[in-house]
């Protein structure tokens, strides 16, 4: 491990187990060229599509994201009223709305639904909230078969892994990886043809939709005044999950509210552009309740679980309140140089990348997760790409401040910074330190070669000395 990382780790007081594992995984991934190549390939293709679409679809992308930020800010400001409006309207149509303060409460709601339905089989579409609450593990404990229907989620489920990215969960898998997986675990003939592999998944899942007892989805938006949830996807597995099983359960974060149906005319294109560089995602479903009496099919029972799990805490925090605007597009992950280097699994949390680093300490504990906010160069690329104008990199900085204020920072760390500040205030001391350092830099040789490489040569003169000398020469 590089000397800086070691020093940093010792100084940063939250040297929790999570932090140590994070550094270990990050180090491994940073040196894994194959992995980095795969990620770069995926992100390059993403960037081309998004760059083109921002120009071709929007007159002024900045205007569009500003409007979206304003709508989200309004929705958040009125969140309690809008949530009650949503509940009232959708309940009048026969849906049941349940509220969950914690992940455990959400799991308990679903456990009760599963037991009351005697459910043996559940089909689900891709949903980060289901990851957040650990749904699959709970269902397995209840001896319920869980079928992940999104292709990316199916791939990671079969591989026994967690999702790699909030939008493209299997971004780290090559065709060959997937071919091997499907061949070994699904008994499909070995092929690296993307179409053939997709058809394997399609056939594998067909009977799941038709025979499942419960369909579970997330939601991209809650439309308060319409009493509806919106689900965005390309594959159609979500549509089938909401069409075939007799029970539809939606688990959605309380912050997903937008006020009116017409706001979708901005948010659907915005999400598609930032998320995948598409003009619109293939299927945007608007669900207003269980099947109505005149309809020939659809679930008889619809249950919406509104999930808090720390969001109301973020809500009450004036600095971090804006992080709830997030529409989970994944753009900040793709823009982040750290994410590009270490990938999604290194983070060890449900939500990766900049937004994950910002919210994880507030959802799951500052001491446990603040290290992610330190693992950033604060380049600001995330803030730049966010379609709802969340000031992500400043929030990372604010997490750092809180972590340091809250924690018992090491005495050595405090002393080191005081010494540095003392030296920096005096030009003479800076020069002294510089030349002292130069005379001692041969000591690098005691370190292993790849670590010594991190430490550059010091210049022969300080800049001030060089300037003075050249001014004289003029």
């Amino acid at each position: 491990m590089s000397p800086f990382a070691t020093f940093w780790r010792k100084g940063n007081s939250s040297s929790s187990g999570e932090h140590r594992s994070f550094l270990r995984r990050a180090e491994l991934r940073a040196h894994d060229d194959t992995h980095r190549h795969k990620i770069l390939k995926a992100i390059t293709s993403y960037e081309q599509a998004v760059g083109t679409m921002k120009h071709s679809q929007f007159r002024h992308w900045q205007q569009a994201r500003h409007l979206a930020a304003q709508v989200k800010a309004y929705a958040l400001a009125h969140l309690p009223d809008l949530l009650e409006t949503f509940e009232k309207i959708i309940s009048a149509r026969g849906a049941t709305v349940l509220w969950a303060e914690t992940a455990e409460e959400a799991r308990e709601h679903i456990r009760r639904i599963v037991r009351s339905q005697n459910a043996r089989k559940v089909v689900k579409s891709k949903s980060m909230t289901t990851e957040e609450i650990g749904l699959n593990e709970m269902l397995q404990a209840e001896k319920v078969e869980v079928w992940e229907s999104d292709l990316g989620e199916l791939i990671v489920q079969i591989a026994g892994e967690k999702p790699y990215h909030i939008v493209t969960p299997a971004m780290h898998k090559s065709k060959a990886d997937i071919a091997k997986l499907f061949h070994e675990k699904l008994g499909a003939p070995y092929t690296e043809n993307a179409e053939a592999l997709t058809m394997v998944a399609r056939r594998h899942l067909r009977k799941a939709y038709i025979t499942a007892d419960i369909g579970i989805t997330g939601a991209n938006f809650i439309i308060a005044e319409e009493g509806a949830i919106v689900m965005t996807e390309n594959e159609g597995n979500g549509r089938l999950t909401m069409a075939c099983p007799p029970v539809h359960v939606v688990i959605v974060g309380i912050e997903k509210v937008i006020p009116r149906l017409e706001h979708l005319s901005l948010f659907l294109p915005l999400l598609a552009t930032s998320g995948t560089g598409q003009q619109l995602t293939c299927y945007n479903s608007i669900v207003r309740g269980p099947r109505s009496p005149a309809e020939p099919d659809g679930p008889e029972t619809m249950i919406v679980i509104l999930l808090d799990n720390g969001r109301s805490r973020l809500y009450g925090d004036p600095e971090f309140h804006q992080s709830l605007r997030c529409i989970r597009c994944g753009a900040c992950l793709n823009a982040c140089p750290v994410y590009r280097t270490i990938g999604g699994h290194a983070y060890g949390t449900t939500y990766q990348g900049p937004i994950g680093a910002v919210i994880s300490p507030h959802l799951w504990g500052m001491e446990k997760w603040s290290h992610l906010s330190f693992a950033s160069s604060l380049c600001g690329a995330c803030t730049d790409v966010c379609p709802v104008e969340i000031d992500l990199h400043h929030l990372l900085l604010k997490n750092r401040r809180r972590a340091v204020q809250a924690a018992k920072t090491g005495k050595g760390w405090k002393f080191g910074f005081r010494l540095w500040a003392f030296i920096m205030r005096s030009r003479r001391l800076v020069h002294l330190a510089h030349h002292l350092g130069r005379s001692l830099q041969w000591l690098r040789r005691v370190l292993p070669r790849d670590q010594a490489a991190h430490i550059p040569d010091l210049a022969r003169q300080t800049f001030a000395e060089w300037w003075k000398q050249h001014e004289r020469q003029k």
């Binding site: 679809q57 065709k175 549509r239 089938l240 659907l268």
Partner: protein
């Protein structure tokens, strides 16, 4: 104290209500660069162009007879029954086909079992509106005969009229708001089903229909 009350109380205690300005207003025409700048006959062309760019199959039919022959052409490559939404306008166009062909069945006289629907070659429905800017269609469960007909079969065929094409999403949604119908499910469809989860390679027909066709009947 229930979870709901606890959550709402915490949210209200934060006192954020006055923190945001009023909702902004805007029009799609001023936000979207690709907003169709043409008069209504050209909305057909704009829609067709966007729809085909998504690998949708677009046809115009000047008469019911033309629509029928186009339909037969579309389904000939697929095997199995063709399931039709029992809509008055569709019946007028398709009755000659349904009468003469073993393949065509109206859904109100057919099995509702998903396993039977799975064997279908195609599902035929109307649409609520079409969007020129994005090449999209909007269907609702009470007009498209439920949720499954437009998503289970591998080919989804939509019969539509030029008057149903609106310039942008904004107009489509405001149309919906004007009515007050008891629909439980609506979907904005933009092209056939697709995925790029495998190395970003675009594959059509992931779980939803692999083929999506629109026949615009202009008679």
């Amino acid at each position: 104290m229930s979870a709901k009350n606890n959550i709402l109380r915490r949210l209200r205690q934060a006192g954020m209500k006055g923190s945001a300005p009023d909702l902004p207003r805007w029009q799609d025409a001023s936000v979207f660069a690709d907003f169709p700048q043409t008069e209504s006959p050209d909305l057909n062309r704009h829609f067709a162009h966007r729809f085909e760019a998504l690998q949708g199959e677009f046809y115009q039919a000047g008469s019911a007879a033309e629509a029928r022959s186009r339909l037969l052409q579309l389904v000939e490559k697929e095997n199995g029954p063709v399931l039709v939404q029992p809509h008055e306008w569709l019946r007028r166009i398709l009755n000659p086909l349904a009468a003469n062909s073993e393949r065509f069945h109206y859904m109100d006289a057919y099995s509702q079992d998903s396993r039977e629907m799975e064997k279908a070659a195609a599902g035929i429905t109307t649409a609520d509106f079409l969007v020129a800017r994005t090449g999209s269609l909007f269907l609702r469960s009470h007009t498209a005969f439920g949720r499954r007909l437009s998503v289970l079969p591998p080919l989804h065929i939509v019969l539509a009229r030029p008057q149903q094409i609106v310039a942008s999403l904004e107009q489509g949604f405001s149309k919906l708001k004007k009515e007050n119908q008891p629909w439980s499910y609506g979907v904005l469809i933009t092209g056939p089903s697709r995925t790029a989860d495998i190395e970003k390679i675009l594959v059509l027909g992931a779980h939803g229909p692999k083929r999506l066709a629109v026949i615009l009947v202009t008679e």
